[in-house]
Amino acid sequence: MIDTIVQILVDAVSLGGLYALTALGIGLIFGVMRLINFAHGDLITAAGYLVFLLAGQSVAVAILGALTVAIVLAVVTERVAFRPLRRADPATLLISSFALSVFLQKTLILFVSSRPKGVDFLPELQQQVTILQVHVQLLEIVTIAVTGVTLVGLSLFLKHTRFGLEMRAAAENFRVARLLGVRADRVIAQAFAISGALAAIVAILFTAQTGIVQPRMGLPLVVVAFVSTVIGGLGNLTGAALGGFLVGAISVLLQSLLPEDLRVFREALVFVAVIIVLLLRPQGLLPARGLRERI
């Protein structure tokens, strides 16, 4: 019994961690631009393919490659696709992010085909380890540890650095931040770079877990992460992370508790749970305070 509970907990935190990191990537961009960037999923995909391409090299090279491509792609897409539209209404930005997502997907398919490809990345992490007399996959422990370190690192960055302070100010009220001298271009580019790094971390962990890459691999993660940010409270990063963990936990719990023939409805039931949360708290669990118009 106890080993089942521990296993469910580990699964929930591990999956929730991936959702939380993806939700933070989306939440950061929403904070400074009021943009739901659906192309975030394609950053995950691009980083996943870098892992695939560099899996034969050393682990450090594959990780650095994935981080570099996701960060550069994030910053370039901001410069090319979103900066010219910065004064446009949110619907225009949203459509632009869909268009960018389709463009990136189709471009990728052009070069690598649409078929999934197997990746043997970090196979040594597939082994089981015993913790408190419970057998757990090492990769899940690594996923939880990486998620924890990333969340703490991001939190320290936002709370204790000058750039982090500027980003929090811009997220709360961009106009006031600019009136204090915060440079709009720099703070937005920073947010995109960090969201790119988060996308790469998710891609590395997700690719190691699933062992495959395919051109739409980022999309389901982004959809769940978007839902997580809404549950957590759009514009609140703590809420985004919390929402991610919550959706992960609900998903794993349903997977474990539902009778086998009802498990096909797991995702539908996750979204029913989301609807219930939003009916009870339409602004999300942790509504953002003082959310104002962008720029």
């Binding site: 500027e166 709360e172 003082g290």
Partner: protein, 248 residues
């Protein structure tokens, strides 16, 4: 027109929101070390005037120069770096950030070693801010928030401070404190452009004033000149004037 060297010069300024004119043909100057007030009723265009100087809205026509350099089409943050700080209407406190973080952000454009000392100076000068330095700014009262945003704006070491309705929503005793603070800032030689609905107080404290109504300057001059002018009530309240627009 100011006798002092002009720091800010606005010439024939027009601002439109779509087809609706908000300002038309506005001329205004602020001299070095001078406090100038702009008074007028709600909807007169006062906030739009400050927004145009601060780069928040783009003029449809006219010129805005600061120390002889045009501010038209300058990004907001570049205008701050030139030496203009705006305390916006509604105060613009960053509510989820602490008092100390708000003050640190005030010094965003500075890289000198004196920033820490200056922040400490303001925390001592405004004891309530010092006592609540680690609390979220959103928990401060209206008067305390007003002190915070003025201190925050001053931390940029501006040459010109723009204040939009600093007395709005404050209790009379708190308004006294805010105006005492403005008086002491003027005494230190800071140039101030003050926008107020509270005409009596603004006219009293300023070296010169402008009465704005319907997006146009109706009267300008020193307090006694404006008060004594036969058209003051008409200019302020937007009653019909017989073509005698400006006092000076």
């Amino acid at each position: 027109m100011t006798d002092r060297a002009a720091l800010l010069t606005i010439t024939d300024l027009a601002v439109r929101y779509g087809a609706i004119p908000a300002l038309a043909g506005v001329d205004l100057t602020v001299g070095a070390g001078e406090m100038v007030s702009v008074v007028g009723p709600n909807g007169a265009g006062k906030t739009t005037l400050l927004a145009a100087v601060a780069g928040i809205v783009r003029p449809a026509a006219g010129a805005i120069t600061f120390e002889g350099v045009s501010l038209v089409d300058c990004p907001i943050e570049a205008i701050v770096r030139r030496g203009i700080s705006l305390v916006p209407e509604g105060r613009g406190v960053l509510a989820s950030l602490t008092v100390l973080e708000n003050l640190k952000l005030g010094a965003t454009i500075r890289r000198d070693a004196a920033v820490k000392d200056d922040i400490e100076h303001y925390l001592e000068a405004f004891p309530i801010l010092g006592a609540r330095r680690h609390q979220p700014a959103g928990r401060l009262s209206g008067g305390e928030q007003q002190q915070l945003v003025i201190a925050r704006a001053l931390l940029a070491n501006p040459k010109l401070l723009l204040l939009d309705e600093p007395s709005l929503g404050l209790a009379p005793t708190v308004i006294d404190q805010v105006y005492d603070l403005l008086q002491s800032l003027r005494g230190r030689g800071l140039s101030i452009l003050l926008v107020e609905q509270n005409a009596a107080r603004a006219l009293r404290i300023a070296d010169r004033s402008y009465v704005l109504n319907g997006g146009r300057v109706r009267l300008s001059g020193r307090r006694d000149e404006i008060i004594a002018h036969a058209d003051f009530d008409a200019a302020y309240f937007g009653l019909a004037m017989d073509g005698r627009a400006a006092a000076s």
